[in-house]
């Protein structure tokens, strides 16, 4: 079930109706959240509920043992292996087997791909997100940074809470378990704020991202023949904004729904394209993932405390893993490597550092080529078009297209000027009503062709 669909509209109405009936009873809330989240996830493919429940249950019991202080390290390893293992099997198993078969091709006939179980050919939606959520529980308990869950239901309500289940943000047990374990009274103000966050998320996704997607998808599926340099820069600009509004849209809807339930999710995007450096970019883009890798990979590796070279190595390992987390493919690894290179470069620029801000956006855009391309051949083809300086193609057609108009609007939407307009903060009730009714009407009438959220595939 995706947020921008009719079944979800019915689902969310039922969810809040049920919540209203239950009131603030904590245990009934856990049951309701878990049951509805299972329904939400099972709508896509009920068989993978077993995976969610299975890994979740292992983590819950590991958590119990870690909290009791018995064989803490052993149970931490069990939790890490079960989470990373299922992620590796479903997300990387097939890719790794194929890559190995190709590697040995010509030397020896290997059949790794044939030995991969057929059920792993389907990637369970949101596996990268919920395994990380679950993993954070055992890791935080081990470090003494979190308290153990009150019960299996309490833990499952945290792990399966549907707003974050399939595409994040990655939430930490220490931030959420406590919130789920107290009587929550959602004030009208909080509920309205949540609704507004949701509505702006829907607008970002359905109007901005989906309209830009048509332009991007058309060029990436048409094998780029005929398009000239300017067209490709425009297409990549469109993708740069599409992925931002797509993912930020999802995160906002998730945060909004959580807020309407009285639960606070941390901000996942903070105007990343206004960053003045690459480090700054990563502190604004997919914040929940960046901080996860910082806290559970970079810092445990030694961070910047073990000398210059070790810092570099740690940075590269973290960024490569972050690339790999996004998908099983060379393009994602190269994307991570490119960002690692940008970060390294930024740290060794010395006096030129103050000029880096002018290069952040164009370089991030160029890195997105790898992220969007289906393989390295397509990525290099796009790079060739971007720098071929051929100006005789279809730019006129693209400039006056639906996507191009929305591209201009998406830049305005993310600009400081637009966000600081006094109009948005007016206290006048009817003007606020008019603004948000306008947002709803625009989302309905100007929505682009229905697309899945990009991050669903991760």
């Amino acid at each position: 079930m995706i947020f921008n669909s009719i079944p979800f509209l019915v689902f969310i109405l039922c969810f809040f109706l049920g919540k209203k009936v239950i009131g603030s009873n904590i245990k009934l809330n856990w049951i309701w959240i878990t049951a509805m989240s299972f329904f939400f996830y099972g709508w896509w493919d009920w068989r993978f509920l077993f995976l969610l429940v299975g890994t979740g249950t292992i983590d819950y019991f590991c958590g119990l043992k870690i909290a009791e202080g018995k064989a803490k390290k052993f149970f931490l390893y069990v939790s890490v292996i079960s989470n990373i293992g299922s992620l590796a099997l479903f997300k990387y198993g097939l890719w790794l087997a194929r890559s190995l078969d190709q590697c040995f091709d010509g030397i020896i006939k290997t059949h790794f791909e044939d030995s991969i179980p057929a059920f792993t050919y389907i990637l369970p939606v949101g596996i990268s997100f919920y395994t990380f959520n679950s993993l954070s529980y055992a890791l935080d308990l081990y470090k003494g940074k979190a308290k153990k869950a009150e019960s299996w239901l309490h833990f499952m309500a945290f792990i399966s809470f549907f707003p974050h289940l399939v595409a994040g943000p990655i939430i930490r047990a220490r931030d959420i378990l406590g919130q789920l374990n107290k009587k929550i009274l959602v004030s009208e103000t909080l509920w309205l704020n949540g609704l507004k966050t949701c509505l702006s998320g829907f607008f970002m996704k359905m109007v901005l991202a989906d309209n830009l997607a048509s332009l991007v998808n058309h060029h990436f599926t048409a094998k780029s023949a005929g398009a000239d340099t300017l067209t490709w820069w425009l297409v990549m600009l469109a993708f740069t904004m599409q992925i931002y509004f797509d993912f930020n849209g999802y995160s906002s809807i998730a945060r909004g729904i959580a807020k309407m339930c009285g639960i606070h999710f941390k901000l996942n995007f903070n105007h990343p394209y206004r960053a003045i450096g690459f480090g700054d970019f990563w502190s604004r883009w997919h914040i929940s993932l960046s901080t996860f890798f910082r806290d559970y990979v970079y810092i445990p590796l030694g961070g910047n405390r073990k000398g210059k070279w070790r810092t570099e190595l740690n940075r590269w390992i973290t960024m490569l893993l972050s690339g790999l987390w996004h998908g099983a493919g060379l393009t994602f690894i190269l994307w991570g490597a490119l960002h690692a290179a940008f970060l390294s470069l930024e740290n060794h620029l010395g006096f030129a550092k103050k000029y880096i801000k002018y290069f952040v956006f164009p370089l991030v855009l160029l890195a997105w080529v790898l992220f969007r391309s289906t393989d390295t051949d397509q990525a290099f083809d796009v790079y060739r078009h971007l720098f071929s300086f051929k100006f005789e193609g279809s730019i006129k057609e693209v400039l006056f297209s639906n996507g191009a108009v929305w591209l201009v609007f998406s830049f305005i939407y993310d600009s400081k000027w637009y966000n600081n307009l006094k109009l948005w903060r007016t206290k006048k009730v009817w003007i606020q009503g008019l603004i948000w009714a306008g947002v709803i009407a625009m989302t309905i009438y100007f929505r682009g062709p229905e697309q899945q959220f990009i991050y669903f595939q991760f």
Partner: protein, 304 residues
């Protein structure tokens, strides 16, 4: 106290949003141009094609020339056969496609397959039947929602900015989807009989016609005939300039095919020399589609 005041303010805001939203929706609908082709009706149209029950006497198989050119209601009136149009965009006449079409025919009684042939339907790109597969890939719930709800919710149709530009320029692409029978009555304002020529030139330069597929197609219709199906072959008329181009670039592929099939004893329906009008060169206008359907209806009636 401040909290209570803010909650009261929030309540008032929520009421304002609830009141203003329907007003805004109606206002937008009044201001924005009226759509001449509804995206939600389009989705309902495709979903219904896939979900159609096997209750028909005759099924029309082919690409967009078929689903824009043959109106089952008109043909049914003339022939008395219960008809359904199973045309899909860019469809190729593969065995798999024909098999999925004949599933719409009822188990007993007369079973008629009307197959519209074009040169394109034997090209590699068409034989993948990407459009048909994309619809078949919709999940069951998606199909049901689109088939049952979308045609009732088309007040909320999304508007493309190009619809606004077209309305200003007084241009329109009109598609009237007959959801119940798979026919789409289509027109364009203004008519341009040469609009599709460049695309077709490119297509014929890039794609090769597959002779092996022609043999499989012939084997398939032979098989259908042996099973008792009445197979009728036709070439849906289209713009004169494009007919000439298609025949020239395909080395009279369709002309030869129709000749061969006629010689082998199959029913080959030849439309009259009516002044067929195409709005883009490749597809019949709704008026011409009606005329073609009348002629085919009479032909099928005579076959009884």
């Amino acid at each position: 106290m401040a909290e209570m005041k803010s909650d009261w303010q929030a309540k008032k805001q929520l009421i304002a949003i609830l009141i203003m939203t329907p007003i805004m929706l109606i206002l937008f609908k009044l201001i924005l141009p009226k759509l001449t082709s509804s995206p939600m009706m389009r989705d309902a149209f495709w979903a219904n094609k896939v979900l159609a029950e096997p209750i028909y006497d005759a099924v029309f198989i082919g690409d967009s020339r078929v689903y824009r050119g043959l109106d089952p209601d008109v043909i049914q009136k003339q022939s008395g056969l219960k008809c359904f149009n199973y045309g899909f965009s860019g469809a190729g006449l593969s065995g798999e496609f024909i098999d999925s079409a004949i599933l719409k025919l009822k188990g007993n009684g007369r079973k008629v397959c009307v197959i519209g042939v074009t040169a394109n339907s034997f090209m590699n790109i068409s034989l993948k039947n990407e459009h048909l597969h994309s619809v078949l890939n919709w999940s069951k719930s998606d199909l049901l929602i689109k088939a049952k709800l979308y045609s009732k919710l088309n007040f909320f149709d999304p508007i493309h900015l190009s619809d606004v530009f077209n309305a200003i320029r007084k241009q329109a692409y009109i598609e009237n989807y007959h959801i119940h029978n798979g026919f789409a009555a289509s027109d364009k304002i203004p008519f341009d009989e040469f609009a599709a020529i460049d695309n077709y030139k490119k297509l014929f330069e890039q794609e090769k016609l597959k002779k092996e597929e022609l043999y499989s197609f012939k084997a398939k219709i032979k098989d259908l005939s042996n099973q008792g199906y009445i197979v009728v072959i036709l070439r849906v008329p289209f713009g004169k300039a494009l007919v000439e181009l298609e025949d020239k670039m395909s080395n009279d592929f369709v002309v030869k095919l129709l000749y061969d099939l006629g010689k082998e004893g199959y029913y080959v329906f030849k439309p009259s020399t009516y002044n067929w009008r195409s709005y883009d060169g490749s597809h019949l206008s709704s008026e011409s589609a009606k005329q073609l359907s009348l002629e085919l209806g009479n032909y099928l009636n005579a076959l009884k």
